[in-house]
């Protein structure tokens, strides 16, 4: 009987490239990767201005069997710990209440990042042509699905086993009113999945993962342990065991374009934009969560940043690529200033806008104020005095009739939202790298906090059309907006967010907010 041409082609190929006799994983990997396709006619949905080489390698040489076995062992260890010993010792109730609140933000936001990374790496799989490179990206797609589940699970665990479930459960319903959500989506969503495929890889893998997952997923576990949280190290360090392959994927993306002429033209700009995009949000938010969301301090955030971002990512990743034309990011000077001060600026605003959150915040104690001043000389005169005034005016007590945002209004310190990063800033009361810039397009004003975002906006303004909360709710009363945006607990009246974590403190309700009569106003309209 005659055989089909397809069968003959397969038989001929096998005759030349015989299947390995052994079942050694890396031998099988080498054999699988030798089967390549004709990519001349390959049509990718996601284009890139770079040409990705066809012979890029995968550093970890994974095949599906070893991948699945490895990941199942990780899950057995993680879920075994959580469901056995950590539940038995009531670990979730041993967490310091301040840190419990930080994990509402960290894990819920990371979940969004992981979810978007599924799409991002699927896009990269589509764009790459080298079989090994595709294999690396494919493994990452599967990892990101696992991580999304892990982040969801840790919030479920905190909500079910621990203290103050509100905010651990269903935080996403508050996404319209919380000013931190939109910035998070800029770094964790838009930056990963929109635009040039290689530029997305630089955002996700070379900067997001190789740089910022180390503070976000590794260093965070030191802070967690110090504050009684043993669940987060169990889950996050397991997540990070996949991240090293993602960092390798990002590096191999750069390897794959290193000999392309486009790299010498565009790579440094793309790297700087990605670095600024990621740091603009992660630097202040992580610093705020670590320092202001903990009782026991591990070290000043600026030191964590200096170690993982500046010295190690900067020196070992970017510095080593110098001979291939990769330059130190032009925005590094401003980023370093932000790493020292921007989280203090952000906490001041976050606390002032506390009713719009899905977590409880607390003012620094006298002991903490001493720690801040010792580690950030000049902190007290800028921030400490303000917190003392807010506390004296009863900002924690619903009967005080005082919301700290009133202090900004009374003292003529308008709060703006940066159009590109969506991060709130107060240019007249800031020690970070933020300064006010306002541009007008088609009769609409846009505020910017720095030259780097402004440059990105100028090159593609249509990309940054997201409404901020001041535009979205202009003229609306605050309690009405909170109710509409699902910012209340299951009783339908008590806010999820609170300005303290005290068990004895009174909880604010919609009525307490309504009595104050706070109305949203767009600061750009006053210019």
């Amino acid at each position: 009987m005659a055989i089909s041409s397809a069968t003959k082609a397969a038989t001929d190929a096998l005759a030349v490239n015989r299947a390995p006799v052994s079942v050694g994983a890396q031998e099988v990997h080498r054999w699988l990767q030798s089967f390549t396709w004709d990519f001349d006619k390959n049509r990718t949905k996601y284009s890139t201005k770079y040409k990705m080489a066809n012979d890029t390698k995968e550093q970890f040489k994974l095949i599906a069997k070893e991948y699945a076995r490895m990941e199942s062992v990780k899950d057995e260890r993680q879920f075994g710990s959580l469901q056995d010993v950590l539940t038995r010792v009531d670990a979730a109730n041993r967490v310091h209440p301040k840190w419990n609140e930080s994990m509402k933000v960290i894990s819920n936001f990371l979940e969004v990042g992981e979810y978007n990374a599924i799409a991002a790496t699927g896009m990269l799989w589509d764009s790459a042509t080298a079989p090994e490179q595709k294999n690396g990206y494919l493994g990452q797609v599967l990892d990101e699905i696992r991580h999304t589940n892990q982040c969801g699970y840790i919030n479920y665990y905190f909500a079910k086993q621990g203290q103050d479930a509100a905010g651990h459960n269903d935080a996403r319903r508050t996404r319209a009113i919380g000013p931190l959500w939109k910035g998070m989506k800029r770094v964790f969503s838009d930056g990963f999945i929109s635009g040039d495929a290689v530029e997305c890889s630089i955002n996700l893998q070379l900067v997001g993962e190789a740089c910022f997952t180390n503070p976000l997923i590794v260093a965070v576990t030191e802070w967690a342990s110090a504050n009684g949280d043993e669940m987060t190290p169990t889950v996050f360090l397991s997540i990070e065991t996949d991240e090293l392959r993602h960092m390798a994927n990002g590096y191999q993306t750069v390897v794959s374009i290193a000999n392309d002429e486009a790299a010498s033209k565009y790579l440094n700009t793309d790297l700087n934009n990605a670095f600024w995009t990621q740091q603009k949000y992660f630097t202040p938010v992580l610093g705020m969560m670590f320092e202001y969301g903990s009782h026991f301090k591990v070290e000043p955030w600026v030191k964590t940043w200096n170690r993982w971002v500046y010295e190690d990512w900067g020196g070992i990743w970017i510095g080593r690529l110098g001979k291939y034309g990769v330059e130190s990011p032009a925005s590094l000077r401003d980023a370093k200033k932000d790493a020292y001060w921007a989280h203090h600026d952000l906490f001041l605003i976050a606390y002032a806008l506390w009713p719009t959150g899905f977590f409880r915040l607390t003012l620094p104690t006298a002991e903490e104020a001493e720690w801040y001043e010792a580690n950030y000389p000049g902190w007290y005169d800028m921030y400490g005095v303000v917190y003392e005034e807010w506390r004296a005016r009863g900002c924690e007590d619903p009967n005080s009739g005082f919301l700290p945002i009133q202090w900004f209004i009374e003292n003529n310190h308008p709060v703006y939202i940066d159009r590109v990063s969506q991060v709130p800033f107060c240019p007249s009361y800031s020690k970070g790298a933020s300064t006010l810039r306002v541009l007008e397009l088609n009769g609409k004003k846009h505020s910017f906090s720095d030259q780097w975002g402004e440059r990105m906006w100028l090159s593609e303004p249509e990309r940054y059309e997201c409404q901020n909360i001041f535009e979205q709710y202009e003229g609306r009363e605050l309690s009405e907006v909170i109710a509409e945006g699902h910012g209340v607990r299951s009783d339908g009246k008590t806010l999820i967010a609170q300005p303290h974590t005290s068990k004895d403190g009174k909880l604010w309700t919609l009525d307490d907010i309504k009595k104050i009569g706070c109305v949203f106003a767009d600061p750009l309209k006053a210019l």
Partner: protein
């Protein structure tokens, strides 16, 4: 307390307050500086605790005295000049059970440098794999 230049709190990290700020904001530190070091984060586990104590702090430290290992609560933090290499055949003998390089990867949490596997060996190196040095495939049986 370690005095190695590779320790977790070496150099500027040992400074506090104004001294730290002065060096942090110094003009020379407003650009990245190339580093020949590598960083490895190992999740604490039965196997990895043994690898750290018996291999990395044993024979590996003798071969590469720049290696520093620090206990950071949930993980071991390692930094060294050049490279860190773990041969899982050696680990397997030590543990008395089959232990492949993929078993090791279950608990390798983070890497700063170019990490790769070849056969049963895990390596993290400061070399630019794929650019300066070709990534190898396992030899044909």
């Amino acid at each position: 307390m370690s005095t190695s230049a590779n320790s977790y709190n070496a150099g500027i990290m040992a400074k506090t307050g104004k001294d730290f700020a002065d060096e942090y904001f110094a003009e020379k530190n407003q650009v990245v500086h190339e580093s020949d070091t590598v960083v490895l984060v190992l999740k604490k586990s039965d196997e990895l605790n043994t690898v750290v104590e018996e291999i990395l702090l044993g024979s590996h430290k003798e071969q590469n005295p720049t290696l520093v290992v620090e206990d950071r609560a949930g993980f071991w933090w390692l930094k060294a000049n050049g490279k860190i290499e773990i041969d899982c055949t050696e680990v397997s003998e030590l543990l008395g059970k089959s232990y492949s390089v993929y078993d090791l990867l279950v608990d390798v949490s983070s890497t700063i440098g170019r990490a790769y596997t070849l056969g049963e060996t895990f390596t993290i190196t400061s070399e630019l794999m794929g650019l300066d040095v070709k990534l190898q495939d396992v030899a044909r049986a």
